[in-house]
Structure formats: C-alpha cells, structure tokens
C-alpha cells in the first residue's frame, strides 16, 4: 500500500498572537529545541511513511529553513521524501492562486496525489503536538474498507464546543457529525487528521465538493452523509497549540516528572534539526529547578519551572519563573521574567521586570490573553529597568523607544 502524507502547515495561527507574526503555527518553537511540525513529521517517519508533502501558505520562510531537504527526518530521499508545496499561479480558472482553507489547499495539490500514485492520502495538521503511530489507523481504514477514516479522541463534554463531534455505530462508522456543538451526546472529537482513499479524495474535491473550502467544516459533514466514513479512536496525549494558553500549558506540561508527552523516548524519537551548539553551561550561582534546558544555553541566574531554548543566556542575578524562553534570548542581570513567553533573540535589559502586577486581560484580545501570560515578539529589545505588566503583548522588533517611560501596564499591547 502506497500512502502519501500531506501536512497542512499554511495556517496563520491567529490565536498565537505575535508568536505567529512571522511564521505559521506549524513553525512555532515548542519544548525548547523543537518546532510544532516536528511532532507530525517525526510521527510520519516513525510510522514508516517516507512520502510526505508539507503544504504552506502563510509566512513559510522559517518553515522552509527548518525543513530544507528533510535531513533530520531521513526524508532527503531520491524516492519520496519531503516536499514543500507552495501556492502557485496557473492559467486554469479553477486552480492555483491563494488557498482559502484546508479543502482548497488539498484540491490545489491533487496533481501531487495523482503523480505519487498513492492508494491513500493521510491528511495531517502541522500545529498538533502528539506522538502517534499512523500504521494502526491505516490498517483500521483498510480492514473497514472505509472511504475516509477520521482520527478521533474522547473529550470531556465541556470541551465539545471546540471540536467537530462524531457519533459512531458499534463498528466505528460515523453516523453523525456536529461542528462545535454547545451540547451533544457524542464524546468523540475529530482530531483533524484523516485517511482518504486517494480516488475518493479526488472525486469529492473535484466533484460534489468542488466548492468546499474546509475539510472539517464542509467536506467531512458531506462525506458522512454520502460515503463510508469511520472513526479511529486514538488514545494518548494530543493537543492543538492554537491559542497562547494551550501553547503555554503544553510546554509547561513537559516539566512534570512523568510528563504526559515523554520526549525522552528512544523508541519514538522526535527529530529536529539540532543546532551545532555546546552543552548547557550552568554557572556557580545557578538555580535550576523543574526546567528544561537546550544545548547552548548559559544559566548563571535563577530559573524555575521554565523551558529554556538553545543559546539562551540568563545572567547572574536574573530570575526566570514559569516562562518559555526561545532561542538566543538574553536576560540581563537583575531582570525578572515571570509567566511570560519570550520569542527568539529578545533582549531583556538589566533590572527589567516582565510580567508583574494584576491579571488584567489584554485590551485588544481579551478572549485570548486573560491568564496572566505576557508575550514578547522576536527580537524585541526591552530597556533596562522597564516594568511590564501581565497579559501584555509586545510586537516583534520593538525598540526601547517604543516603550512608555513609566512602564507598560497590564493588558496593554505595544
């Protein structure tokens, strides 16, 4: 059986605010040294799937840099391997151009499906964090002679409003699909990953579903009514890092002694292009409790319950608590970072205080940022002694001149 994996990685990830200002959500750093898409890509190769297409659209440059020829995943192959599929122009009226949703994205790349001569297409999302062997799901799909198999996950009732909910018969066939229902008796949620028979996929997207834009909201409900659609239940850790809170919690979850998502698993290695950096250096005064540290980090101050990315420098006397610090960020002496996400190459000046005071929801995105997390964009320079409240968003490349002299109040956006 020939399977083509298509990873949808073109999403803008608006819920991640400045973290996705210059990259798609699939390329957001996660767990220090990884990016979100590493999990799905590693799942593919660990499942023995070596024919992978990554569909991009929004700000793909960092993703291109990250994946390149696919070396870390052993996907630099002469047959199959990884391909990055970008939007393209075309003369035909109904093809090419910008893609307006997941169905659209797959439809524009049906040529690739045809040319790979695959039997099934495994459609995956680039912004999900989980470890899953896809082979049992493909096996299930073949045994049931399904047209489509949907990866599904049991969720508690109070979460049903976030998912497409599935009702299944005893054989696993989906009898009913409800998109983000407030109330439902269904307990199985669609994970947004699908096995399609290649011919069925082509027929739907070029035929009755030619106007569908979204797989989950349009194509799947239609298919449940007209095709053999089954649900394959996945039991394991799975999360979607669609919002700042979900992203933060997923990172913090790695710090548990026995985390739900075990990264130190020699039988299911998460591959990523590791930078050539020396080991972590911990200084004589370092405090290092309950944290993750990536190679190249130098810690001379205090770090508590945090994820420290590669090349980060925490000076003596600085303090980092409950935070996520990405690559090459520098935290100068005496600075305090509390419950914050600092993107790459941020500079926190001496004595600056990031994340302090009351929990006032962010004024421009109150629904997204109300749990006290302050987010600082890539390469922002925070001046010395600056005091920044909670739920603050600071844009990428902010310069000291962008900051008010008397500090940034909670809930503000710069």
């Amino acid at each position: 059986m020939n399977v083509l994996a298509m990873i949808l990685a073109g999403g803008a990830g608006p819920g991640l605010l400045v973290l996705t200002a210059q990259r798609p959500d699939a390329a957001v750093p996660f767990g220090g040294k990884y990016r979100a898409i590493d999990f799905t890509l590693s799942n593919c190769v660990n499942s023995g799937l070596f024919n992978v297409a990554v569909l991009t659209q929004y700000m793909p440059r960092s993703l291109n840099e990250h994946i390149r020829a696919g070396k870390p995943w052993d996907l630099d192959r002469s047959q199959g391997g990884v391909r990055l599929l970008h939007p393209y122009q075309s003369h035909a009226e109904d093809r090419g151009g910008w893609q307006e949703g997941s169905s659209d994205a797959v439809r524009f790349n049906l040529d690739v499906v045809r040319e790979s001569r695959c039997d099934q297409v495994l459609i995956l999302a680039g912004n999900q964090i989980y470890k899953m062997n896809y082979q049992p799901m493909l096996e299930f799909h073949r045994l049931r002679r399904a047209d489509i198999t949907v990866g599904a996950l049991a969720v508690p009732p109070y979460q049903s409003h976030r998912f497409g909910m599935l009702t299944v018969d005893p054989d696993g066939r989906i009898t009913r699909f409800e998109e983000k229902p407030r109330r439902t008796r269904a307990t199985l949620a669609s994970m947004g990953i699908y096995v399609f028979e290649a011919s069925v996929l082509t027929d739907i997207l070029l035929g009755p579903g030619r106007n569908h834009r979204h797989l989950g909201a349009e194509t799947l409900p239609w298919a449940v009514r007209h095709k053999r659609v089954y649900a394959y239940e996945f039991e394991g850790y799975w999360t979607n890092i669609g919002t700042i809170t979900a992203y933060y919690e997923a990172n913090m979850g790695l710090l548990a002694d026995i985390p739900a998502l075990e990264l130190a698993d020699p039988r299911w290695v998460i591959h990523t292009p590791s930078r050539q950096l020396p080991p972590v250096l911990l200084g004589p005064e370092a405090v290092t409790t309950s944290s993750l540290y990536c190679d190249g980090a130098r810690i001379e101050g205090t770090v508590v319950r945090s994820v420290i990315g590669p090349g980060v420098y925490v000076a003596a006397g600085a303090e980092v608590r409950d935070s996520i610090i990405m690559d090459d960020t520098v935290i100068a002496a005496g600075a305090v970072v509390d419950r914050a996400i600092l993107d790459k190459e941020v500079q926190v000046g001496e004595g600056a205080h990031v994340g302090t005071g009351d929990n006032i929801p962010n004024s421009t995105a109150p629904a997204l940022l109300n749990t006290g997390i302050t987010v600082v964009g890539k390469r922002a320079v925070i001046p010395a002694e600056m005091v920044i409240g909670r739920n603050v968003v600071i844009r990428p490349r902010a310069t000291p001149a962008d900051f008010p002299v008397d500090g940034v109040p909670g809930g503000a956006t710069i």
Partner: protein
Amino acid sequence: MRVVAMIMAGGEGSRLTVLSEHRAKPSVPFAGKYRIIDFTLSNCVNSRIYDVAILTQYRPHSLNEHIGIGRPWDLDRRTGGVRLLQPYQARGSQGWYRGTADAVYQNIDYLLNRDADLVLILSGDHIYKMDYRPMIAYHEEKGADLTVAVMNVPLEETDRFGIMTVNKAGRVLEFHEKPKTRDKGTLASMGIYVFNVSKLIERLTELHKMEPDLDFGKHVIPAMIHEDKVYAYPFEGYWVDVGTVDAYWRTSLELCDPNSPLNLWDPNWVIRTLSQERPPVKCSAQGKVVRSLVSNGCIIHGYVEHSVLSPGVYVSPGAIVREAVIMNDTWIGPGAIVDKAVVDKQVLIGAGVRLGWGDDWRPNAERPDWLDTGITVVGKGAHIPPNLRIGRNVLIYPDVEEDVFTVPDGIIPSGATVTPQAALLPPAAPAVVMTASDPAAETPPAVPTTASSAQEVNA
C-alpha cells in the same frame, strides 16, 4: 594551491586507561557531546579545507561510526570530503602502519590522486582551535618545504615534546625529540605540519628504505632540517593534549567555568559534532546543577556540581555528582555519591554507591604511572552493585559485572583495579578499611567466586 589534510587518528592513547580500551584516543568523548577529533576536524572545515583523510588503525569502530560520511562537518561532498584510510594489505607489504610517517607513506597514492600541492598533517589527539590558513600562507611566503607549528611550553614539560631552535627568520636549526636535558629551549612542535607534497614524497621514499617504522618526529624532521627549508610557525592560543586521565579530567572541568579558556560558544568558530537526537536537559523539582556543563538528554533529579555530563546521563533523586566527568547514558542510582571520577558510557552505578570515597589517596597499585592524582576511572558498561564503596585511584575495566565486586565489607579500597575477571585489591590495604577478621594484609583478599581467575590475572 590544493591543500589536503591528513589526520592521524590511529593512536591508542594507553595513558587514558580504560577510556581508550574500546576506542582510539581521537574518539574519546570530550566536553559532553564532542569527541576529541571534532576539534581538529572542525578546524579543517572552519579553515575551508574540505579535503580530509583520517588515518585509523587502533580500534577504529567508534571513530568510523562517529565520522560516517562526514555530514556534521559538511564533508559529505562529491569532490573532496572526508575519507577514512585504514591499513591495508598489498603485495609485498604486511600492512600495519608502523609510525606516523609510515602511515602517510602507505597512502602516497591518496596524495597523488588528490593532486595536492600541500598536505597538512594533523593529529586527532589534541584539543585546540586553530585557523590553518595563516600557517599555510606563512609556508608559502617563506618558500618552505616543511613548516612545523610550534608553541612555547613550560620548561619542565619539554621532555614530552619535540623541541626546536630557530633563527630570526623562523628557520629551524635544530630539532630534539623529547630531550632529556632542559637546555634546548621551550619551543615545542605541536605535531602540525605543512609539507610540499612533492618534497614529502621524495623524502619518505628515500627514508623508508632505511627506517621501516618511519616517524615524523624521530626521523623525517631531523633528516629534513639539514637538507630542506624547514620553518617554524608560532601558534599562540589554547592547545591541550588530554593524553592522561589527569589532564583529561582537569581540562574537562575547566570548561565548567564561564571564563574557560576554550570558548565553545564562538559563532565564528563552531565546533561541530554528530549531535544525537535528544530532548533538552531536564532538571526536576529536587534537581540542582551548578558550575557544570550538561548535554541534552540528561535528566537530573539529584545534585550535580562542577561536572561535565554527556548526553543521556540520568542522576537519580538524592544522588550527588561532584568533580566528575560522566559519559553518555550512564545511570547514577538513588543516593549514590560520585566524587572525582571519570565514568565512561552506559555505566550503572547502583543505589547508595560511593564512588571516589575516603581519604586514602594511594596511587593505583597496578598502574601507579596512570592513576595517582585521586581520580577513579570506570570503563564503559560496568555495572556497580548497590551500596559498594569504591576508593580513590581505582580503575574499573569495561563491562565488569556486578558479581565481580563481591569483596569483604563491600569496599573496594583506593588503588584497586577491577577487571572483568576479578577485583585486584592493592597489597597493603590500611587498617581503616580492613576489619579485624580479615586475613593478613599481605595476601590480597580473594574473591570467593572467582579466586582462580584472580590468580591467573595476578600471574
């Protein structure tokens, strides 16, 4: 000018004891995630030399595995790239490399095939950062046949090096290999040579007829000084030969200081290595690490101070690691204390073990020349049973199983050696570690299960 580099990586490094038992010295792990040869290899590619041959002989498997096709150094190239040159059989020759120059002599074909003008001969044994381009420019500027990189060493160490005297222009006048007297100056050869290929081939062919075990320091350089233009290129910078356990341990621990003389963080001179795919270092709520260099994949539940940890080391709750070098995937059990030790890969240190214990600093009885500074060395894959106490200057061989450690009182005294067959305790163990019921101190306490093999080894 076509320049090729040849790295001598066949050395046994016997003074590193069990660390080079299963691998050649260039392949010994260093600074957590690196191996010694990474420094020389990275120097080559950082100097834009992409044509590199590595000459192996002693236990090459771990080195072969590490180098692979040279990807981490971008040496997986169509033209040039890295080649591993093993000894080989040929008609009328027995094959093994009998000296450094003999190794090159046996690979003259390689030099001819590469069509090189200059060959840079390097040693895979040293830790240093050096741009070879200024040295090559110097060589060309002087119109030299051979240029030797030199540095000043302390007078009391001159008997470990090839010492040379030079004139004002830098031309070498005299060369003394490991001189016994201290009057030859302090300018030492670093074992880094630039040769004109044609001249090298000429001299090697000529000298090889007289000296089959041809060596650069012993034969080639002394012979060339009188006939050819030999220049010394002064190098100033960090350069260390980690040839002994003590030097290895001290150089490693130096890296834990923020102002260590060897800067591994320089973005303009990246030391490249085969990075393993490991998650970030994890330090748990009860874990604490200070003044240490810790590689990815380590999990720390205990206390680590002034130590270098390679990828995947696990420090259990309540364990203490102090002034130690611990290599890949070693497991340190709950409550174990490791003090002043070098522990190779995949060692299991049982719960409550005291490794590097007590105030008895006697040198190792079997090899006092190797171990006399208090460092205890544990070979790859040894399994140390729970609650054992192991003294100072103890040498534990690779793959020693738990039952070999069945000794009186659960104590391996300082200066002992533990082979896979038996624990060889030092002849005169002091009263503090021997109880009254022990047999006479002159006869080593025999291990009940393996007494016969102990005698064998002693014999």
